[in-house]
């Protein structure tokens, strides 16, 4: 990649990260005001999500979980329909039946989102089996947390994906927290990536707060999955800056740890790098931020004006 296209790329990536942040902030503000249900925000993890999704092809598929805003928005989901879903409106991607926790958008290849911790890991092998057996070219990316890696199904999934040679890019967003428990309390290893090798799966760990590093690592990892047809595990080392589920006062979080990670905020890092290198004039950065805020304001207005589901929807979409 030459420096010109890299510059364009990073501004586009920054814009996506800003969009994710503004989207989550709108949900937080709405939930404080009692207008929007609480959710699991991806604040602090924008680079980890945006960087990976930017490395995927249009026919690749994605499985994700409750902390999915960066994956969905980076894939091109309409923030209005996402907010409508979070607010339980009929215009939401899942007709308001999902809420924030398990939003799938099949038309964008975001499949079978599950908020059962480890659910996506149990399903991704089947999705990849279909890709392989039906001769489709896209690989399947599976986002999960360090908490999910402590579920037995993580190990079952890696084992089967390796034995059956399935084209899966496993992406662990190791955000240090598993709801209200620090990963140090639950794992004897720092890195989830360490658990890949025993299953015969190649792996890498990347600075998950550096969007370019994540993108480059994901490009390489995805390329390896495409070439080999075999799984790869990429771990993004990152941080859940807000609580587990809004509202969350984070009284249980070590303030030193929190401060150290806030100082490495992925959006501030990327913005500063672009400004310092002269690739993004400061006024353009401000204009970018304004555009994103306007986009989310319009999305919110759409969601708020959207109808609630008809009562009959309670029993539709149960059986095919």
């Amino acid at each position: 990649m030459n420096s010109e296209s890299q510059a364009i790329d990073e501004i586009a990536l920054l814009e996506q990260m800003l969009l994710v942040r503004a989207y989550e902030e709108a949900i937080v503000a709405g939930s404080v005001a009692g207008k929007i249900p609480g959710s699991c925000t991806s604040v602090g993890q924008e680079a980890a999500g945006v960087g990976v999704v930017s490395a995927l092809h249009g026919d690749d598929l994605i499985l994700t979980n409750h902390r999915s805003a960066a994956h969905l928005l980076a894939r091109g989901a309409d923030p209005g329909r996402l907010l409508a879903e979070v607010m339980g409106r009929a215009t939401g991607y899942c007709k308001g039946k999902s809420g924030s926790l398990h939003i799938s958008v099949r038309e964008l290849g975001v499949m079978l989102t599950s908020t059962i911790v480890g659910g996506e890991l149990s399903l991704v092998t089947g999705v990849a089996l279909s890709q392989k057996m039906l001769g489709r070219t896209g690989i399947v990316t599976c986002f999960f947390g360090d908490g999910a890696a402590c579920e037995g199904i993580f190990h079952e999934s890696l084992n089967l994906a390796s034995v059956w040679e399935l084209p899966i890019l496993y992406v662990c967003e190791n955000n240090q927290w598993q709801a209200f428990v620090h990963r140090r309390e639950t794992m004897k290893t720092e890195h989830v990536a360490d658990w890949a090798a025993p299953y015969g799966i190649d792996h890498a760990t990347v600075d998950g707060n550096d969007v370019l590093a994540v993108r480059n690592a994901a490009l390489e990892a995805a390329e390896q999955v495409r070439r080999s047809g075999r799984p790869f595990l990429l771990e993004s080392w990152t941080y859940r800056s807000r609580g587990h589920f809004e509202p969350d006062d984070q009284a249980y979080v070590d303030p030193t740890e929190h401060a150290a990670w806030l100082a490495r905020d992925p959006i501030a890092l990327s913005r500063q790098r672009l400004i310092d290198s002269g690739r993004l004039p400061r006024e353009e950065a401000v204009a970018l931020e304004r555009r994103v805020r306007e986009c989310i304001a319009a999305a919110l207005a759409f969601a708020e004006a959207s109808p609630l589901p008809a009562p009959g929807e309670m029993t539709t979409d149960v059986y095919a």
Partner: protein, 318 residues
Amino acid sequence: MPTLTPFAAIGAALAEEMRHDPTVLVFGEGVATKRHELVDEFGPARVRNTPLAEGIIAGTAAGAAATGLRPVIDLLFAPFLCYAMDELVNSAGKLRFISGGQFAFPMVTLAMTGGGWGVGAQHNHNNEAWFVHSPGLKVLMPSSAGDFKGLLKSAIRDDNPVLFFIDLALLHQPGEVPEGEHIVRLGMANVLRQGTDVTLVSYGKTVHACLAAAAQLADAGISAEVIDLRSLKPLDGAAIVASVHKTGRLVVVHEAARMAGVGAEIAAQVAEHAFASLRAPIIRLGGPDAPAAASHPLEQAFAPDVPAIFAAALSLCH
């Protein structure tokens, strides 16, 4: 009519459906070993052994079903379904609804259940009612070789996740299977014997006990109607209610525990929809609220037997 064991009928249904539709595949613990004739015909990609890991087997099936394949998985014994509950109940059963209808899960899960092998409660547990209580799933439990074949073919063609329970005691009992394309629609009970005095409703191996009891009841001057449910969900409530309108008496019989079992739902539906026709209280015969024992006499005593069904029907008629 040719006779087949249910084991062979299942094999025939699998082979026919795999021939009929190239997206059908079958996997599970030892499937490729036990059904090597399927491997010979369809190759190792469509007939697969798996690791001993029921969760990922069921999850893989759900993921594959949602994206273009029609998997049949063999999870061996019904208690092992506990390891696959999340994938069957939370994923296959719910993600269609949660996603607003974006996905369908055309998949079949095979599991053996019931007494007959004497290996105790961790292999023998009639837990079919759990799945009846789970939205988005269909549940079958045939009693005859013909239905094993015909229902399995329908289940494979159905676009929903289907739990297909195999009563272990029936697996190697030969029975008639119609020749050619034999399809049995889901959700239809089968009236195996017409009667006017009492309705015996059952599924799985206790259907045969009901038929034997009905023959004895006839000798005692009582005309018993025997209904084989076959499909626990969708449940053919209309067939049961119609029968009770005619007979005014109902005995529900299954090996599964009585407490919150399928029989409880049937009794409730009859009380709701045929109360005025009832001439006696409803009787439910089923297993106790206890794990199944390995010891042969205890294992066999779990399921209602012919004398118990006979006595129950007789008591209603006097």
